[in-house]
Amino acid sequence: MKALVAVKRVVDANVKVRVKPDNSGVDLTNVKMSINPFCEIAVEEAVRLKEKGTVSEIIVVSIGPKEAQEQIRSAMALGADRGILVEADDSQLGALEVAKILKGVVEAEQPQLILLGKQAIDDDSNQVGQMLGALLGAGQGTFASEVKVDGDKVQVTREVDGGLQTVELSLPAIITTDLRLNEPRYAALPNIMKARKKPLDMKSPADFGVSTATKLKTVKVEPPADRKAGVQVKSVDELVEKLKNEAKVI
């Protein structure tokens, strides 16, 4: 079966971002960009399913600027077979528009498994996989920490508040990955070289008949309120005294 994996180019997880002085957004000039960590886990899972013989072909799709080709190439270096870049200004796209474009890609490629990260670490929305499920009328296994394909069904163990829940979905199904699903591998140099030769199609949202106008407008972006500077205490006695008398929390 075919697997489709959606990946997003985002600011690197270790970067401490800064809000622009005009409050229009976050300053991303000259900031290191990477593949979203949850997306990387989705790629790894698809590759593992291919190594087990469950999946025959892995298509990786990204919606974003030209530079997102780098993230598609990284996914190919990890083992994806081919890529699709839907070129768009993703800062202007909402989760619903992204889901609609992905629906177009799914209809064109007809994958049985659609893997996404549970959330992108930039907008922290945690929406696209679920929205895609609704648009396709497919089942969803969100926050997956274990995936088992069995014939035309897939069992997904989900991380829920309070513990774990296992659901069984009919294929085609959507799976969004949680951090504990797997440990993504590192791409070896020969694989990075090979990835350069793998096919990468360029598309636009218009190819899928999707208008990119979102009705959700970001009015402003501000830094969070600063916490007032704390103090170092020298002893447990001092700590207990401060908690009891100054902060009055115990």
Partner: protein, 311 residues
């Protein structure tokens, strides 16, 4: 204006998170209806009817909703929402996050995740970039769908209301998903996201055994919930539902005690709205100290037991 709040529950009791969502709904203003979708969930509907500020409770009692499968519940919620609601809200729990985006797509509207402030009926604040920026977003959608971060709103009273309970006969079973099993971690301690005091351990505690040896007495003494950093969860010290952070639970207790936690961005996103933060770490340069109100540099294996003996 009318607001639909999706109740969070386990078919027996109404989850406290719902009270925070009702509080957010009151800030928007309008008639508040609570939808309870479940199986054998009459007690939940009765509890919801007593919540202050709720004017009506809808109870959809059907086996198809027993385990809150998104495919079935979302179809129901979307249908109910079309009956004249301007807002659809749920808690930012794994259940809310699983179901609501699906509802939004069925209604063909955008959605707002993790609302932390209500500016007006269509303008809200939400954190982005792991809480390193706060975005103000305005929705021009006909129906505004959003999840509410519980810790950002003080819960309304669980008693005092007298809403009528109305049955919804509609049964939506998409037939594409099935509940198989669940594994719920049992704990005698207060629930993490609702606790007044949280004691959290990180990689610095060294092992699962040491986590319990060092932190259990402190949590017991303070009547605190226990949390952990991602490093501690990934190392297998404690189960994942104890994880505090961008990808785990978001907490904002009165007192958060971070023991052996360095304070990575992803962890801070889950706890930096706590009222008082205490860090106990052997590293003087640990980033956690930058958000801590009080920090103590020392070996947690000696400092924590000493702390237990003195409080």
């Amino acid at each position: 204006m009318s607001i639909l709040v999706i109740a969070e529950h386990d078919n027996k009791t109404l989850n406290g998170a719902t009270l925070n969502v009702v509080a957010a709904a009151q800030k928007i203003g309008g008639d508040i209806t609570v939808l309870v979708a479940g199986s054998g969930a009459q007690a939940v509907a009765d509890a919801a009817a007593k919540v202050a500020g709720v004017s009506k409770v809808l109870l959809a009692d059907n086996a198809a909703y027993a385990n809150q499968l998104a495919e079935n519940v979302a179809a129901l919620v979307a249908d109910v929402a079309k009956g004249g609601f301007k807002h659809v809200l749920a808690a930012s729990t794994t259940t809310g996050k699983n179901i609501l985006p699906r509802v939004a797509a069925l209604l063909d509207v955008s959605m707002i995740t993790d609302i932390i402030a209500v500016e007006s009926a269509n303008t809200f604040k939400r954190p982005i970039y792991a809480g390193n920026a706060i975005a103000t977003v305005q929705s021009d959608e006909a129906i505004i769908v959003g999840t509410v971060r519980g810790t950002a709103f003080d819960p309304v009273a669980a008693e005092g209301g007298a809403a009528a309970v109305e049955a919804v006969s509609e049964a939506k079973d998409a037939g594409i998903s099935k509940f198989v099993s669940e594994e719920i971690v049992k704990s005698e301690r207060p629930e993490l996201t609702a606790a007044r005091i949280v004691v959290s351990g990180g990689r610095g505690v060294g092992s699962g055994e040491n986590y319990h040896k060092v932190l259990d007495p402190l949590a017991d003494k303070l009547g605190a919930a226990q949390g952990a950093s991602r490093a501690a969860v990934d190392a297998g010290f404690v189960p994942n539902d104890m994880q505090v952070g961008q990808t785990g639970k978001i907490v904002a207790p009165d007192l958060y005690i971070a023991v052996g936690i360095s304070g990575a961005i992803q962890h801070l996103a889950g706890m930096k709205d706590s009222k008082v933060i205490v860090a106990i770490n052997k590293d003087e340069e640990a980033p956690i100290n930058a958000v801590a109100d009080y920090w103590l540099v020392g070996d947690l294996n000696t400092v924590v037991p000493e702390l237990v003996s003195k409080i």
